[in-house]
């Protein structure tokens, strides 16, 4: 299991366009991938679940991946989100 914590900085939050791209990229990986936000979590491979989190500017989100390609998945997803997030440092986390 691997995870990354990020802060959404885009003024529109994680809006439809990045959410759609995010789901498309998540589906390329075999790992189970979740997004956690405000004590809720959503399947990162489902657009409707992701939009249901209503991720707003300033929200702290955690990407969690579990599977053989978990690190590659988190790398690709974090890269895709780069314009919309800042990397919140988490103690002991690998980059």
């Amino acid at each position: 299991m691997a995870e990354r914590t990020l802060t959404v900085i885009d003024p529109a939050g994680l809006h439809a366009r990045p959410a759609a791209r995010f789901v498309q990229i998540a589906n390329r990986f075999g790992s189970r991938i979740l997004i956690r936000h405000a004590e809720r979590e959503a399947d990162a491979k489902s657009l409707i679940a992701l939009l249901g989190l209503t991720i707003r500017p300033g929200a702290v989100i955690t990407l969690v991946a579990d599977g053989d390609d978990e690190e590659a998945a988190l790398g690709a997803l974090t890269e895709e989100l780069t314009p919309y997030v800042s990397q919140t440092p988490t103690s002991g986390a690998a980059n």
């Binding site: 439809a16 390329r28 209503t54």
Partner: protein, 138 residues
Amino acid sequence: MVGLVLVSHSRTLIEGLRDIVAQFGGDDVRVELAGGTDDGRLGTNAVRITEAIRTILGPDPASSDGAVLLLDFGSAALSVELALEDLTEIERAAVRVPEAPLVEGAFVAGVQASVGASLDEVAAAAESAATMTKLPKD
């Protein structure tokens, strides 16, 4: 890849919706339109819906990934029913008509189709768009 058939009283409305699906799902997602009457008025047309479904299913419907229909309201449902009656059993088995809002349903169905989701998965995604959260809860 599962294709979409958009059914509306207004051709203009679903032309715009097709742009949205292409923008968010990508150009690979196949979308067929059945909107308005043959003479350009508002209305729905069963014959055009059947044609649109057959275009998505292609010459060999048994091996097609299938078509998900999204419709607006009122007589659109009647036209869709008539269109489905015209299909062969094999064609009908490759079509889903989820209880879904047209715009939001097409948006999420297009994205799920683009990632190679199955016919039932795309239909389920469209259906869940009926309760899609748009505004933050706080």
